[in-house]
Subunit: 285 residues, 2 copies
Amino acid sequence: MNIFIIGVGLIGGSFALDVKDTYSDVKVFGIDNNPEHLSTALALGVIDEKADWNDLGKADIVYAAIPVNVLCNVLPEILDKVNDEAVVIDGGSTKMLICEAVKEHPKRRNFLAAHPIAGTEFSGPEAAIKGLYANKTNIICEVEKTAFKLQERALKIFSDIGMRIRYMDPYSHDKHIAYTSHLSHISSFMLGKTVIEKEANERDIFDMAGSGFESTVRLAKSSPAMWTPIFQQNKQNVLETLEEYIENLQEFRDLMLKDDFEAIYNVMQNTNKIKEILKGITVKN
Amino acid sequence: MNIFIIGVGLIGGSFALDVKDTYSDVKVFGIDNNPEHLSTALALGVIDEKADWNDLGKADIVYAAIPVNVLCNVLPEILDKVNDEAVVIDGGSTKMLICEAVKEHPKRRNFLAAHPIAGTEFSGPEAAIKGLYANKTNIICEVEKTAFKLQERALKIFSDIGMRIRYMDPYSHDKHIAYTSHLSHISSFMLGKTVIEKEANERDIFDMAGSGFESTVRLAKSSPAMWTPIFQQNKQNVLETLEEYIENLQEFRDLMLKDDFEAIYNVMQNTNKIKEILKGITVKN
């Protein structure tokens, strides 16, 4: 089985490692517009062979894990190049514009829109790790638009590397993911910015930062090249969540200004129920 | 050596476990106004014996890990009760009002003001874990006001359980800790609130939450009983950080509204330097 990874970074590279670990009969080809990343991926054993767009005809599976704006541009071209039996899967964090980009493509049935809820704050081929996908959820959009045999092939791989599958329409995906992922990134980036600005001249005080700060600011290490187009593509949903988040922070501030610490206690206690909600989430990274 | 833990929860209980693991000649007594917590701590082996305030005279070391408002009220009373050779250490997340509370106490030299930068989002004696303090920083305030022999005894214990020591005045402590700890808790609580409110009727979407959301929202599981008085005692500093955080979020929103994604890219790239800053932090929890 020939698997082509387009974008040999954290997401694409980890997929390659899991697939190689699961099957003995796969050959993993890498395509990346950064030649250094491609060489690193080869040296690290993330891929078996470098390849380019003209080799896509021999792919059984293509896994494209590149910024979502680039995905929209190149997915039609990828579909043009693959053979009729190949399945092209994306790993983008938005789904509406991506599905839109291939809607009318004659090979639409060769495409499966997916969003693996898996990742770390690191990027590039060195960030690829085995087991990233195990026990994680893969959101599949518009599954009915993919040829049945190709759905089956893709879903078997996801299942074999340990993923749960959830089906969702692109509109709902983008709306909800703004809350459960995109907003977290903004809250983390702005927390990092606030602290860096204030404490720029007092590096020692980072001795005072513990695991709590590290945890809330972790996502501020994420790649701007991946995240800028995500915020751009999901602008309306992200703005809505951000507005609500700002309002909640302002309310908290106002309660403090009024010395209404009983209300603050209650707000925090109500929010403690996130414990129960999170119990269902498997966190490995 | 008789060690009295006042408040046998996460912070006090973990200290007990580390001390018992490090020394063979200690006996750990527990005091807690919640009798269930005390029984649980005994059953779990966190403490060796239940005790009450009238037993404090036989303490060599008292470690008080209770809400900071309670600390301010009871520290003078604890100092009244201990013998002249005992050292009383607190673990509070604020330092100005605590130091103020015992400033004029005749046994001020028996008190050491400390803030271990260690913790998890859990609370109660079941949350106590061995090794919580290893490789963590302990901030000591007004060390010069503690009797030298008692400083030495306390610092040897901190060092033996694996802590780094940093000295700081209470004013600077409270100012900086607002950025590196207190603000993280608010950002996390309000993130949890925003998502819970929006997604209250769609529990399924928490399948879409991954490790990123879990990480940023983790602190929203923290104890309101511990955190409300912290925000109250450090009100001015916390308000200042919160205001700056809100401004940064508003700026981010405005850049999105203007479609200035180049600026958004740059803001995130600048904030990526948090990577370097965090490298020095040891994170175990």
